[in-house]
Assembly symmetry: D2
Homo-oligomer: 313 residues x 4
């Protein structure tokens, strides 16, 4: 199969793109994300038809947040769109006249990185996306590992603190409450409240109040050496690295690929993560260490990965 | 291949057995575990030759505690025997004249349960052995999942309490400090110290002091309704169930098989584990639940599994 | 001094009462709590004048949630009413023409229990109010201990879980997130969601959904043996008792007095609290144990205590 | 009363000294600590008589590790010497012919700092001794606060991590496991094991191995900028500062005095402790902050404080 179409459903926009066998995006189309579940289906179909018209694309891969069933057809549950047992594959196929594969968005991104990004050359990689939340994808022996019911790789909701922070999922102490971009902002706000004199750069980038601090401010301030921003990244890194060490005990991958907005800062955040990973890696003296790599595809990973999964069929 | 020999290396004895294609043990031989690393190699060879003489066994599978490399040949590290990069496969092959496969003992036990015990009928199962420590084995798509370097499935050393109890592995807060048989005894001793009047049965089974309480006493007392013993099992079950819920977020198996001494109590401990599992399972309303099953092979699982892995080659 | 007036400022109503030297309430008056800070001051004055007219009351004691300064005159911060450095003493004195003492409400309640309730006969008692949140009061050598700046005894905001639940105070892991009435409801809802079949009584008392469970339902269901309700009380008791053990390490009181809505259940909750207290009490074999007593004055403690503090001057 | 004698019982030596009303030590005497409980009593008496002969000292104050009863006469329990309900006051009085006061050693040190050291000018101070373990002393209204049974101020055994590290006291997660000198060494060893290249200075000061790292090495290396040593101090400071914030919620003192070996490093450790204290102080924007001061008397505090307590009678 040659060209396929990948679809990435975000909170504010839906992107569709024609992708070739080398993972290059040849053409794209974006539409706003409609507010209703049914509207989203229509918008997906519209974007696919728009970008696909005139191309020779033969299949569609859709990356969606939430649980996707073992047949890669039904979204069992989506956290942002109100989909409950939504037969997304069938509905889109009827509208676009091409075979459709639905996949969890973090799985799709992991596949993209594995095939065309940082994972090239490894057959056993774990992708961790540190964004607003934390997503994960598992490649085992060169194949995407989905679990028995399709919902493996939900790294963000592993409990890392008993009786810890409430999570949107209903549980407590989930990893994404401590190592995601949202956690980074919380660390920065708490610290800036307590010691504003150590957060001058950081506070100056926002509206001057701790509540006005956003993720982009923390990154910019950290690059300029702001103490609170740097310490906030270190705190995130402690949790992120310890979590990777746990994943190594479980999956023993050749490499971790760290993506998501947090990873855009490169070694500013990856180096402390590696340090924490080594500190908490069990048996580290007696086993080969997985590499901790930065993702390479940025925001394109999900779309490219979804398209390639459609190609694999 | 027909008959093979399985070997189980324990702290006090080494067992070898001839196993047929249905997982039945036809003949066994036990020898004491020697104190030196080299002595253990000799003892394994001796036991294999003793039990194998006169049989038509064609291969040997050895289950060993510790890290076994990706070629299933070298023990990278063993916690109890002083093996560091021990070429166990080669050494035993030279002595017994048959092909040898080395496997982590919990992996071997998992394979045994998968093939001939509680896992029959499922292709994606997670085995958790709650013994003195906690061991784990992962079956994915009907194959043992070993990770890139051979050391996947070390469930017992996932950190479940940040800054938690010191573990023999050098880390802190490892799951096996909270959900193993050793943890059960600690719970019982702490509780019996604080409220001896609620531990009359339990204390009566040992020497009357909290320090004299052993695992078998807790089980026996719990069956007789001793409050401290029952509460100790509940405490263990809270940790065990929460840990299974995390494993479900990660691996999404069809079933968990719970083995090890703790599981000998059956529903006395499995029911509270299931309850805790359901409490902490993320997204439990929107996804199929893995079953939580009791292991069926007991102490034979490792030997039978190792023998079968040798058969698979 | 003979009669004094005590005032208790609640979220929905303000109560004033004339109290005699034995702690008996001779007359009371209630008014709704106004929505504005200034309105509350007026309402307090109105209630005091109403109940005081015709009595020979000579002084007023006001119990207010929040931080009260070391002069017992200014509310530095109130969580519910928007008071910031509110000169409550002066404002009320101007309006009622009597000397006024302002005190933290939990301190006032502690004083009430010490003087006329469960604390009688002890000179060193710690009062813990397990209500929606957790309040505390400390009696040392027969005197209310207020700290250097007036804000001692904020037990509810001691951190018992690092990186734990967010608290309204801006911190994380505060004790009141784990051992208050609100925590009890959270435990019950989580458990009823996971195992509704074990919460039949409990769910039947509300609207049938976990979200519909309220504190009173948990109490009623626990008295009827509902498993989820009983387990929820046990979970709360584990945290409450461990917290008392910590307070014993710090303050070494003769007795703890446990009040607040949670304590209304008496031994249903106090017995498990005592058990947990004994389990976690450090050095318990080598030191006298503080008693753990149920409060006796119920909701009157704050008003009676405030009135008595006014009498002491 | 003019001169008195203070006694400090250490693990390796017993020091006695004649102390004047300004806290100056006029004369001292040291003897090795005998191995038997009864031997320690004799050694105390011997040291007191030696240093006291020829002086006009009129009373003796003894600081002893462990629980001292409410009459300041009996050691209920000592962790290092095998004293269980040891009538130390009577035994020493019989031998030296002077009135004797026995006090917990951390209480004595706190009193010394309050009277002649960092606490001068404050009537409500909390002393925290970060040594091998953590000791504490509480001054309320210019008086030593001992609790109802004499054992208040055991800060080191407050639980700061549920299910945390085992403590010698039999409990888990005690503060002294995270913020003492022993904890500092553990942090340094863990970090040096994981990232030896970041601990070159530190490892060079000992025998080159992580296990060879001692407290004095961490201090020396931190002063020379060794990354692992500096990070280890920061980790300790996080726990120490958070603990002080909790003590502020409870006791609301005017000042904290931080003593013990860890505090010898001055601002190297006190500044990060203050930062962490401010981060975790509840309601910090609405209340006066306690100062965090370095102790001034060093190892003399206990002896001087014990002598002064004897003077107070």
């Amino acid at each position: 199969m040659g060209l396929t179409i990948g679809v990435d459903i975000g909170g504010t926009k839906i992107a569709a793109g024609v992708v070739d066998e080398q993972g290059a995006i040849l053409d794209t189309c974006q539409v706003p994300t409609p507010p209703t579940p049914e509207g989203v289906v229509e918008a997906i179909a519209h974007a696919v038809k728009t970008v696909g018209s005139g191309s020779s694309a033969e299949a569609v891969g859709i990356g969606a947040a939430g649980y996707v069933d073992d047949k890669r057809a039904t979204v069992l549950f989506a956290p942002n769109i109100y989909w409950r047992r939504e037969a997304l594959k069938d509905k889109v196929e009827q509208r676009v006249g091409m075979p459709v594969v639905v996949e969890n968005d973090a799985n799709a991104a992991a596949w993209g990185e594995y095939r065309f990004g940082a994972g090239a050359g490894h057959d056993d990689v774990i992708c961790v996306t540190l964004g607003t939340g934390i997503g994960g994808g598992i490649i085992v022996g060169g194949r995407l590992y989905r679990g028995r019911f399709g919902v493996a790789g939900e790294f963000g909701h592993v409990r890392v603190v008993p009786d810890g922070l409430l999570c949107g999922c209903g549980s407590q102490g989930c990893w994404e409450q401590y190592a995601s971009g949202r956690a980074l902002v919380r660390y920065a706000r708490q610290r800036a409240t307590a010691t504003p004199e150590a957060a001058e750069v950081l506070l100056g980038l926002g509206d001057g109040t701790p509540e006005g601090i956003e993720g982009k401010h923390v990154s910019a301030a950290a690059r300029r050496g702001d103490k609170v921003a740097v310490d906030s990244f270190r705190e995130l890194a402690r949790w992120a690295g310890a979590g990777l060490a746990d994943l190594a005990s479980l999956f023993d991958p050749a490499a971790f690929i760290v993506g998501g907005g947090v990873s855009d800062e490169g070694d500013l955040v990856l180096e402390p993560i590696r340090k924490s990973f080594r500190r908490w890696l069990v048996g580290g003296r007696y086993r080969p260490h997985a590499q901790v790599l930065a993702a390479q595809l940025g925001g394109r990973a999900g779309l490219v990965g979804a398209a390639d999964l459609a190609r694999q069929g």
